[in-house]
């Protein structure tokens, strides 16, 4: 399971891409280019990147809503151009400008997200069932947060997936807050991974700021799923650096989130941690780091330019949008 140098660099590059693209989204929302809202995923990138970078193209992912799935879908291979075009309301968007933030790129096993948190579980059962019926070794990685774990849909889906031994990795991105609700007041135990025992599947807790730890845990779960041994639960302890949604105060219950808590977690920034490690191990030089950052900035600029220059959709497309032929 030891990663080759180029695989390590790919993980690092995807982390940098996820962060810089998220920063673009935050800025573009402020500039009025994004129509709607944005839930930044900064601080949590290692989960999406570690969970998706080495999946097969025909595997399915249900991206987390944080970052609107940015870290997850770009790591799966989806171009950020369509993501931003969609957020800018453009015809070239992942959902032709109709979805808003529901991006869809079926070629990469990405069908977009949902407005109702917790609805990812039942739909993932459907993808897992299709994967099992087809018998080509596809897996589903279903991302969910600590908030989603409070939904009853989790029980129905995890239970059925275990009964039918579906090839699903339930990947919890536990950032410890469901909007303004801290996990300690919403869940009676310490680890969401403990739920796994009730469904007869492995459950592990990993450091969600350590992209290698996430990757290794997910990889083990993916191999188990591909081998037909059924689902697993991987819980990644992580933290969001920004407020739940841009432009809204950063509450915890009725108070503000403690600044010292945020600063402490920023010391464990997943990108910095990995960068330091790779520099220390000699996998990357400072020149490599600078180059990757420069190349990513060019990609970010290109995504923004593409989205800005793309046309607004013709409203006539709505006439044929409701039903398939």
């Amino acid at each position: 399971m030891t990663l080759e140098k180029e695989q390590l660099i790919k993980l690092y590059t995807n982390l940098v891409r996820a962060r810089k693209l998220d920063e673009l989204a935050v800025r573009a929302l402020g500039e009025g280019k994004i129509i709607g809202f944005f839930h930044s995923g900064q601080g949590e990138e290692a989960v999406g990147v570690g969970g998706c970078t080495f999946l097969r193209k025909d595997d399915y992912i249900y991206p987390h809503h944080r970052g609107h799935g940015l870290a997850h879908i770009i790591s799966k291979g989806v171009s950020p151009k369509g993501f931003f075009a969609e957020h800018f309301g453009k015809a070239t968007g992942l959902a032709r400008g109709i979805g808003g933030f529901h991006g869809s790129d079926p070629e990469f096993g990405v069908f977009g997200g949902a407005g109702t948190i917790g609805s990812q579980f039942p739909v993932s059962v459907g993808w897992g069932l299709a994967a099992k019926k087809r018998g080509k070794g596809q897996v589903v990685v279903c991302f969910f947060g600590d908030g989603s774990s409070n939904r009853g849909t989790l029980h129905e889906a995890m239970n059925l997936a275990s009964v039918w031994k579906l090839p699903i990795v339930w990947l919890c991105e536990n950032n410890q807050y469901a909007q303004f609700m801290p996990i300690k007041d919403a869940y009676a135990r310490e680890d969401i991974a403990d739920l796994a025992a009730g469904y007869g599947m492995p459950g592990v807790v990993v450091d969600g700021q350590d992209v290698i730890a996430v990757h290794e845990a997910v990889q083990a779960a993916v191999e188990r799923a591909r081998a037909g041994e059924g689902p697993s639960l991987v819980e990644c302890k992580t933290y969001r650096f920004r407020a739940h949604v841009e432009g809204v105060a950063d509450f915890v219950h009725g108070d503000m989130r403690p600044q010292e808590e945020i600063e402490a977690w920023k010391q464990r920034d997943p990108i910095k941690l990995f960068e330091e490690k790779l520099l220390e191990q000699g996998v990357l030089t400072q020149e490599d780091v600078d180059r990757i950052n420069r190349e990513t900035e060019a990609e970010v600029e290109e995504a923004e330019r593409f989205a800005l220059e793309s046309p607004v959709p013709d409203p006539a497309i709505l006439d044929k949008a409701l039903y398939a032929d």
């Binding site: 992942l94 032709r96 069908f111 039942p122 739909v123 993808w127 129905e156």
Partner: protein
């Protein structure tokens, strides 16, 4: 012609479509046994991989249908009682209904939600509902309500082949109804109404079990009032043209729907008639539907659900 029971017609449609297309499968609680015998016997022919018994988990059943449909299969999710659709409202009304649209047409959801509707069984408020008004109100769901064995088979075959989610509601009071069903292959397009009885004095528009009640009333009034009964068969798409043609002929309309009258199917159809054929109307339209309260059990049910005498009263009021 050969006669079958309504439930046999449903069963035969499932069997034929499963034989025709390997991606079709049935999923739900006790579908191998068949709570209403609509799926009985299919597991012996197709095996448990294609007739899948599930735990009591409506969200997971409907979600499995939505997900597997997106991923290339044609699931038929049996929700047993239509009342249980509320348990998986997210999967039915938010996912199945919206996801083709909201994903810019990049994914199709070729699936069928099967569910048994209707009262007159004295089994209370959570086993008797008709959800057609809510389904019809929701953009993105097609809606079929067969009233005869012939329609039950032809509509279900079409629903399974459709590339969109179809809610297919069969009525518990019709399960044992006999009717002609040809042995030869046939399908019925969605969005094609059927004139179940020709008449000249008044049009009754009715769906599902209400078609039977309307036909009974028409027979009762025979010789006094000539009643035409139009069954839309599907409410989405709605064949308003056939309804309007009948209204233009008779000039008088009663709409019968078993769901709650307020904001119901009858309201919508009446308004479409007013918008399109107002000049043809010789009298105000009347609606017959369930009273604005939950469906009670026991003896009280009859005071809430539409009764033949209510249809007679409406017909007499409109033609009087």
């Amino acid at each position: 012609m050969r006669e079958l029971m309504y439930l046999q017609a449903i069963n035969e449609a499932l069997e034929e479509e499963m034989s025709r297309d390997e991606t079709v499968f049935i999923i739900g609680e006790d579908v191998q046994a068949g709570a209403f015998m609509t799926t009985t016997g299919l597991v012996q022919k197709f095996g448990p991989e294609r007739v899948m018994d599930t735990p009591l988990s409506e969200n997971a059943i409907a979600g499995a249908a939505v997900g597997s449909a997106m991923a290339g299969y044609r699931p038929v999710a049996d929700l047993m009682f239509a009342d249980f659709m509320w348990c998986c409202a997210d999967e039915v009304f938010l996912k199945a209904a919206k996801w083709h649209f909201i994903h810019g047409g990049k994914v199709n959801l070729p699936l069928v939600f099967l569910a048994a509707i209707g009262g007159y069984s004295h089994i209370g408020p959570e086993h008797s509902q008709c959800p057609e008004s809510v389904v019809m109100h929701t953009p993105g769901l097609k809606l079929a309500l067969p009233s005869t064995p012939y329609d039950a088979k032809g509509l279900l075959k079409t629903a399974i082949r459709d590339n969109n989610p179809v809610v297919y509601l069969y009525h518990k009071q019709l399960l044992g109804a006999m009717g002609e069903v040809p042995e030869e292959e046939y399908t019925i397009p969605l969005g094609l109404a059927d004139v179940k009885r020709e008449g000249k004095d008044i049009t009754i528009v009715a769906t599902s079990y209400m078609v039977k009640l309307a036909l009974d009333v028409a027979n009762e009034l025979e010789g006094r009032i000539s009643v035409e009964v139009v069954d839309p068969r599907t409410l989405e798409p709605l064949d308003i043209d056939t309804i309007l043609a009948s209204v233009r002929k008779t000039g008088r309309v009663v709409i019968v729907d078993e769901d709650t009258k307020r904001c119901g199917v009858g309201t919508e159809i009446a308004m479409q008639i007013v918008e399109n054929a107002f000049d043809s109307l010789d009298a105000p339209i009347q609606r017959v539907g369930a009273a604005n309260m939950p469906i009670p059990g026991g003896y009280m049910e009859q005071y809430v659900l539409p009764q033949p005498k209510d249809i007679v009263a409406a017909v007499e009021a409109v033609t009087g």
